[in-house]
Amino acid sequence: MAAIAAERYTGASIKRSEDPRILTGAGRYVDDIKLPGMLHAAFVRSPVAHARVLSVDVSAARTLPGVVAVFTGAELEEMTVPGPDALMALMGWAGPTPEFTLLATDKVRFSGDPVAVVVAESRYLAEDGCELVEVEYEELPPVTNASFALDPGSPPLFANLGDNIARLHSRHEFGDVSATFADADRVTDFRIDVHRHQNMPMEGRGCVASYDTDSGAMTVYAATQSVHVSKIAVAMRLGMGQDKVRVLAGDIGGSFGLKIGASREELAVAAASRALGQPVKWVEDRGENLTTSGQAREESFDVRAAVSDDGDLLGLDVKTVIDTGSYPGMGAMVPDIIEAMFPGPYKIAALGFESTAVTTNKACYVAYRGPWASETFVRERILDLIAKDLGLDPLEIRLRNVAPRTDPPAVMITGRPLVGVTTRESLERIAQLVDFPAFRCRQAEARAQGRYLGIGVATFIEAAPGPREPEGSSGPMGNESMRLRLEEDGIVVLFTGQMPHGQSHQTTLAQIAADEFGVPFEQVRVVVGDTDVVPFGLTGGSRSATMTGGVALHGARQLKAKVVDVASHLMEASASDLEIADGQVFVRGDPASAIGVGEVARRAASGQFGDGLDAQLEVEAVFDGGEGGWSGGSHCAIVEVDAETGVVTVERYVIAEDCGALINPSVVEGQIRGGVAQGIGAVLLERSAYDEDGNCQSATLMDYLVPTACDIPRIEIEHLETVPLDADVNFRGVGEGGMIVAPPTVVNAIEDALSPFGVRIYEQHLSPARILELVAAADPGQ
């Protein structure tokens, strides 16, 4: 008999188990759900940015054939329990909480603010009903930018706040800021603006809420990054016990931070279902998604840099204002992460950080893939600007300022140790992968012919999940749980609170468990998306590779130990002599002794072992992240700018990255490339735009432009040999990195291309028209 071989899945690009259904149209997204008696909702939305609501007349809508019900904001208040935003409550937000109703009642605060919900037999009829609802508005002056919001004279969006400050100004200092600045050779001021853009997943928000009048139970089919967080949100708002709410999720068409908790619309739909005793579906259309689901990144930075004449970045003093839009989301919380991450992988000795967040009459600020990303943009932009002032090369200035990898590790001035960070190696690898001197020759030749090529570099780290915290982890981003069970058919089932929306968890977690436990990949099943059976969890923050990969590894190990223990009784062998490989338990060196793990499970379930043995082949594993760690890398872009039209082409994009041990290289590379594409999109194409009256001007995909296959080049990725920190779990997350570092990489390249004109860039969005403006301003002769 042939020796039983153990396969090694971890580290290989195992084909995804998700794909057979995805590729044949058998995926099950929220809009695919059909339930008996299901109705459809559509929302009446404000056409103006800021107004008092004087009256809402739904009488005509109610009589339209096919319309089953119309609920106004006032009626929904009667049907629900007022409370804070669930995500903010979960994250322990202690700041000012604006008071507002589920749907707008007395006032609307952004163009698209929902005022009433129409429930009908079809979405077509629901939209027809919406057109019949008459709302009288008394317009108020719109607050459409942060500087007006900061003005105490601006009309407050929320009466109970009294002004438009979402988060009070605060200042923190790390290190000796005043001394660092006093002693520096030079101090330079920069003002850098990041523009508003947004997640734009291919599938919008939506849910089917189904209330069972008999049992008093609510089932919500959701598109979400966490079924448990959605459940909490629904239960809280509807005043229901947690045990009466079940949230289910199937396939999810992307999210990038958008679909966390439950939106006001989803809560209204749940309330409607309860009132009607019938399932109600709402799936937002693209117009709603672009104008009302939320937007991100509108942040401004006044930065003072203390620099030595040799190019040492000694200190930074940063003032940031964040435009959080109307209703509360993540905006008021993001300054803390920006502050913590600002030093990056560098030796910066002092940091001053002030922030204020304001409310404006625009869509609310939501988490978008690396919500704190502006810290990398600002820092990597400033390094290039400083390098230019000092006549230094962009690689050179970064290598000069990178914190060396020491033992004990260097510590960011904001407190986190830079353990295992390979920034230096990634920069050096970029210099090997891209022939800079040859490029400079080509660049010079091209310039002589009136063509403008440029090269840009940027580097980043992200806490994916971050190094081990001395005080231990806490909060929703803390420990990760998983339940693992060996079934009688030999399948190892993993129950995880992760909610994949493109991350391929059903494949990657199975790879890890299969290897650790000893079954073929096909013999592992990953169960997600049911609050009745999965533990608490949330997919986000680039933490799942470590946290969930780690709990899968340790949990599989624990489960294996249990199975081996049971098998040792079955096989009358010592547990230490047993192995599991290829789904068989056998005595080491004796393949003929093998029995299938399913057989072990069946025998354990039969009760033959009596009470003395724990024959429950199930474990509840918890993982605290082990040593954790950073992900990071350096990116390099070569671009060409057409100086007559402003059109930018990204010619080449190269990455040297470190995400620790790779579970599945193709999955890792796909995540990185997708993030880079969004970063390129942010710079060249994507802008959530408002006019001075607060009307959203990017309300269709003809105006909110996302990159296509003609806009993103082949992205070359090299994985660095990582610094292992943990005995077992060295996978680190990559979900957000691409999106964090691609914008400065591309902007740095564009500035380099335009350097003959003397252009300096202090913003992130560079449409062709803007590029010509920058050229004209720097070089009026053009």
């Binding site: 979405r123 939209e127 693209r286 039209t645 990159p707 296509t708 003609c710």
Partner: protein, 290 residues
């Protein structure tokens, strides 16, 4: 984003369609390819009482050449025109513009007549029609009339077609030997509407420009004929300096709109750049087609 309630008619002949249009007038929208109309309906930007679907009128499709003109039936799909050898040979400017219209799936359904009747000033075909002085054949209750391109485009999404008339055919003059063309476009992405587009046709005779036809997309609420630039070019020999001067004239002549994708000043600069590039390319092409 669902379409509003609307009645539906599917005439099977031109007279039937005209009868319906006469009945409904501007309460009706003609449904051809639907690639422009259906989005407007989905966004509920328009609420016609009835859609008159002319996809069933077979006689409205086809490409034929006669007497120095190429006649294209209004319902001819853009992809059919794109694949037509007749169009490639005889209306090279149209052949150059067609692949830039949206994406292949759009051109599977979109029609030449539909695009021209919709008359989006940022679209490619209106600029081509204006440059070539195409002729628009409409059929109404009192019979047929032929409208030259200069009179067809009246304003933003507005043509001189009367509400009771149906566009049945568009005729393009056949390009002779020595005529070269170029369609230049700056769009935010491949397949998007032009921020600025230029349809250019030059005829060289004895080394000099005997005919110049230049029309811009995206500079106004209708396609804009660059008449001053054309006047400058006729009779002259092609040269970089000549083309620079033509570009200056063209840019100086226009007052483009500003929107999310470009300021007025930006469009002027791009118009000048496209003029230089388009003239050079058309002249080279004319040389090849001697």
């Amino acid at each position: 984003m669902k379409l509003p309630p609307v009645d539906y008619e599917a005439p099977e002949s031109v007279p039937e369609a005209v009868e319906l249009l006469a009945e409904y007038q501007d309460e009706a929208s003609v449904l051809a390819g639907g690639q422009s109309l259906i989005p407007l309906l989905a966004l509920r930007l328009t609420h016609p009482a009835v859609l008159i679907d002319i996809n069933g009128i077979d006689e409205l499709s086809g490409v034929s050449a006669a007497d120095g003109w190429v006649a294209i039936g209004a319902m001819t799909r853009e992809y059919v025109a794109e694949e037509s050898g007749t169009v490639a040979d005889a209306v090279p400017l149209l052949a150059a513009a067609l692949p830039l219209i949206g994406h292949e799936a759009i051109r599977s359904r979109g029609t030449v007549g539909g695009s021209l009747a919709h008359a989006d000033p940022a679209a490619e075909l209106p600029a081509v029609a204006r440059a070539l002085d195409a002729e628009f054949v409409v059929c109404g209750p009192s019979g047929e009339r032929v409208i030259p391109a200069a009179e067809w485009f009246e304003g933003f999404l507005t043509t001189s077609r009367r509400p009771d008339e149906l566009l049945t055919e568009v005729r393009f003059p056949a390009a002779g030997r020595g005529t070269g063309v170029s369609f230049q476009e700056v769009a935010r992405r491949h397949g998007d509407f032009a921020i600025v587009g230029l349809a250019a046709s030059l005829t060289l005779s004895g080394g000099a420009i005997s005919d110049a036809r230049l029309a811009f997309a995206g500079l106004s609420d209708v396609p804009v004929r660059a008449g001053d630039a054309e006047d400058l070019l006729v009779g002259e020999r092609p040269s970089a300096e000549l083309f620079d001067e033509a570009a200056l004239r063209a840019a100086g002549d226009i007052d483009p709109p500003a929107d999310l994708h470009g300021s007025s000043d930006y469009r002027k600069k791009v118009a000048a750049a496209l003029m230089r590039r388009g003239l050079r390319a058309a002249a080279d092409h004319a040389d090849e087609r001697r």
